[in-house]
């Protein structure tokens, strides 16, 4: 890292590599193409906060290993205080971005930290794992790495058993002295064009007879043969006035194609090892630390959408109607529920067998599962209250034409706002619910954590049924 560059600048500098990023059918330079500039600016600002006196204290900790201030997501918590410090850092970034940036790498960094903190779990599976993950964890801290994680393979035919369709799964096609060569595809790689490295492993349990599908690797985004094919950009340009969120917070989703990508051995954390990879997938430390970030971010987003909806209700004069108040009350109830679960998860934190303190996963899991319904419901309430107002927002900048500008001032004001503010408010609401970015966020919250049906089922499967059974037993032999 250059001594003269800020963290944010250093980050952007690193993106100037040979990465194959495809947008609109063309290979593009992320640091130059306009579609990425607004979001890059957002990330740069967030990274730079670590260099600012005030924010540094909240956002980072002094790391002995690397001799520098490191983002809290990398901190292995050894006390409830550490958990609170991590939470404060998560909160700072998520409030700065109103919960709309989901994968600023604090999630992925937390997963990495969790795996690192429990690295001895893998001792019996692969003696090299501990050293490899330690080395990468140090590297990531040192370079303030932007990470992302991919797990899913393409939606070709979900009714086939895992491993049956040759093309459907990312796999090792050969190995050599330098490393392994991988072929296949991965989806949905959120934020991949903005990342330094991608951590990849399969979401499904790999059957024992297909070990070549069971791997956990860290791939540099600039690796030869790796192609990132982006979906359409939602950011018209960083100065798109009418879509303020899209212009700043499009974190992008991409499909990854591995066209025989070499991953060097030191970044092959696990390979040919279905059982070990499944344990990685189910690792509680990693999940607790990462989803702790997710639900803090969710809370910021619920606050934001509630705030927007509340402002609209006020400006169109419906905030005194009982049915509108009830809906706003439901939004507040959502916020407070997630808040309560965050508090409970922190208060009920406990140390694991290594002495890592982990927020209580059951409350985190509950909050995460509620989130998959809460956010879409919040969107629905915003739509219900704003209704027709959302589809009659005048296009173009206000005041460009005198006569029409005057008419707009007269007729498009609100209860307390002048027309320009009220139009701005509705633009914000539309960008949150009606723009492609808005639609994508509705989908994101429903599905980012996987199939919500399975996630809810899992709360039952994991639960202590013996404890429940004790509530019923006395009745069964009662006379």
């Amino acid at each position: 890292m250059s001594i003269t560059m800020s963290r944010g600048q250093a980050y952007i500098h690193r993106l100037n590599d040979e990465r194959n990023v495809w947008l609109d059918g063309k290979r593009v330079q992320v640091t130059e193409h306009p579609a990425f500039q607004g979001t890059l600016q957002t990330i740069e600002n967030l990274f730079n906060l670590a260099d600012e006196q005030d924010a540094r204290e909240t956002l980072t900790y002094w790391d002995e290993q690397t001799g520098g201030y490191v983002h809290q997501a990398f901190q292995v918590p050894l006390s409830t205080q550490d958990i609170s410090s991590r939470a404060a850092a998560f909160r700072l970034w998520s409030e700065r971005t109103y919960g709309v940036m989901s994968r600023l790498s604090d999630y992925a960094r937390s997963r990495l930290t969790g795996w690192y903190a429990t690295r001895d779990d893998m001792a019996s599976h692969d003696p090299m794992y501990a050293d490899k993950i330690t080395a990468y964890y140090q590297e990531a801290k040192r370079k303030d790495a932007f990470l992302t994680i991919v797990q899913r393979d393409p939606q070709i035919n979900r009714s086939l058993p895992v491993g049956e369709d040759e093309d459907a799964m990312l796999r090792i096609v050969r190995t050599n002295s330098e490393g392994i060569v991988m072929r296949g595809a991965k989806m949905v790689a959120t934020a991949a064009p903005y990342a330094d490295d991608i951590i990849a492993y399969p979401i499904q349990r790999i059957p024992g007879h297909r070990p070549e599908l069971a791997h956990m690797v860290i791939v540099a985004v600039g690796s030869p043969g790796l192609h990132l094919v982006c979906r359409e950009s939602f950011a018209a340009s960083p100065s798109d006035f009418a879509h303020p969120l899209s212009a700043r917070y499009d974190e992008m989703d991409a499909v990854l194609f591995f066209d025989d990508v070499l991953v060097p051995w030191e970044r092959v954390l696990l390979h040919n090892n279905p059982e070990a990879v499944w344990q990685i997938r189910c690792n509680t430390a990693s999940s607790s630390l990462a989803y702790h970030q997710s639900i803090i971010r969710l809370h910021s987003k619920l606050e934001f959408i509630t705030a927007v909806t509340s402002a609209i209700a006020k400006e169109i004069g419906v905030d005194s109607f009982l049915n509108v108040q009830e809906q706003l009350g439901e939004m507040i109830s959502q916020m407070q529920t997630i808040e309560g679960l965050i508090i409970a998860s922190e208060v009920q934190a406990k140390p694991d067998s290594y002495g890592n303190w982990l927020p209580s996963f059951k409350y985190i899991e509950t909050a995460r599962n509620l989130g998959s319904r809460y956010y879409p419901r919040a969107v629905e309430i915003l739509k219900t209250i704003a209704a027709g107002g959302l589809i009659q927002i005048p296009s173009g900048q206000f005041g460009q034409d005198e006569s029409v500008g005057t008419l707009m001032s007269k007729y498009l004001g609100g209860v307390t706002m002048q027309a320009p503010e009220k139009i701005r408010l509705f633009q914000l609401a539309w960008d949150l619910t009606g723009s492609p970015l808005g639609a994508r966020h509705d989908l994101y919250e429903r599905y980012y954590a996987g199939d919500p049906v399975r996630n809810r089922a899992s709360q039952y499967v994991q639960h202590d049924k013996e404890y429940l059974n004790k509530k019923v037993k006395p009745w069964l032999h009662m006379k």
Copy 2:
């Protein structure tokens, strides 16, 4: 209408007037600005169908009054057969546009036809009304007019009583020998930039002491002083491959500003007449004929979204899963419910006191009210089934680059489809649910018929409570 122009050409020719249409802050020519071309092409094609031998029979009837083939929406039904003929015409247009074009003027024409057919209702209110509406009805038929209707005033402060905020309501500011001069604004004027004329009257009941707010007028879109301020266009261009619906079916919504617009007396159907205007608003003939069209269109749209969802379920291999089948079954159940209610409304048609046959409003109303929940639910099911696949659609034309094109072919195919078709299918699904057009349609179906809470309440208020009471009474004095 020129003898050499098709109906569609004549329609487009008429739009070349002095209308003040504002898009992106600039005054634009509708017939030339690219944002309108795809939709104009769609309308032109639909209008031209009336000149094609095959479709003419379904779409039009021979009208003695004007001596020509006239769109069925103008037909005053005098038998159940006429109702079926109207329905067939509605179905033809809505199937051609997959139910996505909501206001092709068959709705507004039907309202006009209903008011015309019951014009004698107004005899005691305004002796001029009958002649005026007859004249306009003939004119509209003769020119194959594209009509739209606006009712709502701006969302300034809904908690104030009607008429309390001076600026909030479109009103007559003076009259002269030529007509009345109007000032104010109206929202949401769907399809207004594409219309010949706009029919305007207030949606709320006007109190007796504010007669100047109670008017029903027909305003030429090209009237001096009338400004149409459009929302953002959803149609990037008519050749936007990735958004096939947006490119063809953006019917546009606009706010109307009346900057002292003169409406000539012959088009002032009613003025200073709260009671008469309220009757117009509640006119059953007009509502039955117009909403009959709405629910036929709704049915086409439900079929379309069901078809898209079913195709996606099949291509990603989830159509054999019980929970997916249940959701698809729910979509089919929605379609069949609306279908059943359309049939019932037609079968139970009855003549009114003038001999007009009207489809039964209660079944139409039920279907319309169900629609405000069914369509959003259908969107939700599509999202639930397609899930992550919707946000990883590669941007850009497939095949532009050799190497990446090959990878896409390999990894992005479906159970039966090759990659290009499957990507196309997901683009269609995204355009239906994730694009601004998709978001707008979700809102449209919820709210186009007014506040859904009031609409449902109205089914109770209008219902025969005496009939219900007879079911309870025998029990109350039972020994």
Copy 3:
């Protein structure tokens, strides 16, 4: 049938057989035990209607085969008129019982009629079937038989494959010259204690290697070895004033134990024949005719609960509140939806290959599937509106004590009703929603037609996907 007995008396006379009906741990005589008297009275009255001049015309048709007036459920419809006649008869009984009696045997009689009408379907499976079912159909008409149907086997372990648990399925244990001997259990045998005969066959598809589980038999309720074990009675007594519905309409549910019951050959319609029995299960004629009755009954019940809710809203003075009106509007919308689907099913009736006219199953199926959600929702609305009023209904007869009676008159009246009527109204509402009878009806409507998830899925599985596909195809190759 004795010349001097009415149909109702004859029916009751027939119940005086050796049937093994168990209630509260004791074997009881149905015609004498008080728990059955209210319901028997109800059935007797309904049966007697066929002897009354006015009702006979609606309820019966003149049957040439038996030379008598026979209930319409037995009529094989040969025209849309016949379908209407059947509907009118269903409506008469269901309105007399407010839709609360679900299994008055018009359902089972309709199933029988459907199987009889399509008896030639079985020709290739079992040459004896046609004669046997014809003979029984004639017998049932002649004696005005009260029938019921059972399909399910006990809920022992639903995760086992069909036929794996020996005890879980009713099966043939031996055959002899007289007939077959059956062992096992069946649940939920609704109305069994009131029935003449029970038609039994399995609900699940029987695998080919377990033919002894695949049978369709008609069992006389009085057969030796057949035990009917009743659930608790909901009818305190026929004069239970506070529970007017429970006192009259408890149709009872029972578990059947077959302790080696001999079924004579003439009543063994099919045996050892999985394929034939599965066709019986899926027979469209039988389902269309029977579920046609179900949805007419459902409609009466929805009307009744709407009427009760509407009366309560009025009497406590909440019927002018918008949120209450909306909920009542939703109930009315439910009624009208089912109404529309009944109409559509009748209007779209078509003849099958034998010339039987059948109401359109798709609309019937949709109505039935909606019903499983509509009725519970109606119950919820009633509870929401009546709320606390339901749990403070004074127990005991009004007026028994002077002083308290006076206080009740003063404080417990309604907007228009005096205290006694209002208390009666709330008793009715409580009996419909809070009594065990009410709870059982909520369950009944959800599940009587089988697993609602599978029923909804079936609407997709059976649907014409090719037709849907045509809506999508044009888009996939569009340029």
Copy 4:
């Protein structure tokens, strides 16, 4: 209190007064009529716990004022530790009664404690209040009083303004040197027949011009002129085997008639004072302490119904089905959400201006509002999973008859349970959902805290909108 009587005995002894309790139209002695015995036994046992060494520590605290062990609900919390102690006592009683006893007076005692702790709030309204409430608070502690609260007036006509219907509101008809004389009625007086005293005040805000309706009084249940008219009893008898919950936990609801009841001055806490009474109604200390108990009880009940549902799913072999697991997971998620909110409310406790520590009301309120939907949803899930099994529970004691007993053993067992246990389990489930007690609990949870629509609206009305507004403001003037 006799030195030889246990607390429970002393309580029952006190009920032997002249109270006018009416059941089934007759005046009854609560301590003798069979309908009350099961519940009295339950209460007696709970009261006696305070005399048992082990439970005393959890259930009581040593009270200096009265020199005895007093139930924790009376403790004024002065630290978070005190809040935890209160919670532990609530949990002990609610777990002993599986959350099914809602008004064991810990709720009412907590309200009293809250009012007492903030008695100085009333100083400006009524200088006598502080001494009166202090005296009663001491008395209640000393006698271990069973209290209940009533607020609502009869549902005569809710559309009339408060105070318009003379009979609709409990009011003071005259005063004399001894006290005030009250006339009117109150509903729903839950647990009133079991209570020592009733605290009464109006739920609605009393307008300033009707001061005689604004009172807060403590009425001895045995007061002359006070009549308690009970709803039907749900407890057939304390030995009703088939309804184990109804037999033990029917807390009874009653309408109260005040036929000119004298309330002595020392128990007239407030009178003719609309503003003061409204403050009592909205007192946060009282609400926080009381609803803290409510949500702890709710949690026990959710655990219990989850346990019953889970046991049923296991015994009928459906607990491995994904859709069943999802529903059970939803129940667990409900439990954990309430758990998280309880923890948050305790952790975020703060002292008020008097130094009383109060659990955070916002989390309590959220939990309470969620509860009004969670419990009915839990009931629905239980019904969905148990389905038909709930309506085929054999009536009568198992084994009374040999032959049928054998058949039941064979066919009615479960995956792990023998028939008797499985039948018992279903009886428990039916009692929880299908019995009148079950129906009443569904209603209770929906409405006990008042109109759930208003309660949700209140969360918005009370919320800090300025805080929300800060999230939106920066966007409105962004360039």
